[in-house]
């Protein structure tokens, strides 16, 4: 019988470290990817993901299954990512979670809508274009998109992580996708050659 995450965590609470290993195997990849898309650095993402697991382990004795395990662990990850982003801004002015991201890279150059994307554009460039468009979103919108699109979490769970209402989350997601739709317009109108058929409809 497959144990749920909550059952695994309760077993960890009871002293079973092998259950913690199962949680580690299950969540390391989604956490590293989520954190990488948040902080845009693999080493930092790995370090933060390790910190998430460490905090989960430290909190095992106080753990009570009041919320979904996924919600809990991604909430820890979100807080760590946001703190890391703020720390890396070299004590600039206080940054609100709703403020646009301060890009230290060159501004994202969005080609004109009518500009034809070169058919030979390699996937890596497209991926970089997408990555930077997501990275340029305000932090709260970025978290919402990553949890909605890539982690496929429920609205209620994302709303808990972001500490907002579901209604506010829906508006937030709409604004985020609207921004991405405009920024990624060249890719939206010109799908990658040979990939359009492969992709599953969302």
């Amino acid at each position: 019988m497959v144990r749920t995450d909550v059952q695994l965590m309760l077993d960890v609470k009871g002293g079973d470290d092998s259950s913690f290993d199962l949680l580690l195997v299950k969540y390391r990849r989604p956490l590293v990817n989520f954190l990488f898309r948040m902080v845009r650095d693999t080493a930092t993402a790995e370090d933060l993901a390790q910190e998430v697991f460490l905090r989960v382990y430290r909190a095992r004795k106080q753990y009570s299954p009041s919320a979904k395990f996924t919600t809990w662990i991604f909430r820890i990850a979100t807080n760590l990512a946001l703190n890391s982003l703020r720390d890396n801004r070299h004590r600039q002015l206080d940054v609100s979670i709703d403020e646009p991201a301060q890009e230290d890279e060159a501004p994202l150059q969005v080609p004109a809508r009518e500009m034809r994307i070169d058919d030979q554009m390699v996937e890596r460039d497209r991926a970089e274009f997408i990555r930077r468009a997501i990275a340029a979103l305000p932090e709260k919108q970025r978290v919402a998109v990553l949890l909605h699109k890539y982690e496929e979490m429920d609205y209620s769970d994302i709303a808990k992580i972001l500490e907002c209402s579901e209604s506010a989350l829906k508006s937030l997601l709409f604004r985020a996708y609207e921004t991405l739709r405009v920024r990624l317009a060249p890719l939206v109108t010109q799908p990658a050659a040979g990939r359009a058929e492969e992709r599953r409809p969302s």
């Binding site: 580690l24 390391r28 898309r37 993402a45 790995e46 996937e123 997408i130 209604s167 508006s171 991405l180």
Partner: protein, 165 residues
């Protein structure tokens, strides 16, 4: 339903998480509104584009590093209850310091009061002399006296008024 109302429900409609009533409302609007219909179609394409973002794999040493960090965590031991918690230790230290300060406070007050009483005692003792001095300084007849001869004043001269009184 207006376009701004649809915007709130459009994402839930597209990822099939809206309820039947919401879905019907959005569908009815999309039939009428070409702009929202076009936007909905572009959102679908956008989600396909977002799927192109590559995944990163955790490093091979990831699990080992997590276990290493966990192993470095301090383990609870049977004598741990003997070690005072930082907050408790700080509170106790604060309490002791406050007690010492309060215990010393009356002594300091005594020390400050004592000289005052001594001064008052001295003043009362010399009250008669001071009164005489005041009478003499305000005695008009003295102002009619000729000024003293220009010779250096001696201790004896200075003591004269007191002695006369």
């Amino acid at each position: 339903m207006k376009c701004e109302d649809v915007s709130k429900e459009l994402i839930a409609y597209l990822d099939r998480r809206s309820n039947s009533a919401e879905r019907e409302e959005v569908e009815a609007h999309l039939i009428e509104c070409a702009a929202c219909r076009g936007r909905a179609e572009e959102f679908r394409k956008l989600w396909n584009v977002l799927d192109e973002a590559p995944l990163v794999e955790p490093s091979l040493s990831f699990d080992a590093k997590v276990r290493q960090r966990i192993a470095a965590e301090p383990r609870p031991s049977w004598f741990r209850w003997l070690v005072p918690q930082p907050r408790l230790a700080f509170s106790m230290a604060l309490l002791v310091a406050l007690s010492i300060w309060l215990a010393r406070l009356p002594q300091e007050n005594m020390a400050t009061v004592a000289p005052n009483e001594q001064q008052q005692f001295e003043m009362i003792k010399d009250l008669g002399v001071l009164e005489n001095y005041e009478v003499l300084t305000k005695f008009d007849a003295l102002s009619e006296l000729p000024p003293p001869a220009a010779k250096p004043a001696t201790d004896q001269d200075e003591q004269k008024p007191d002695g006369g009184a």
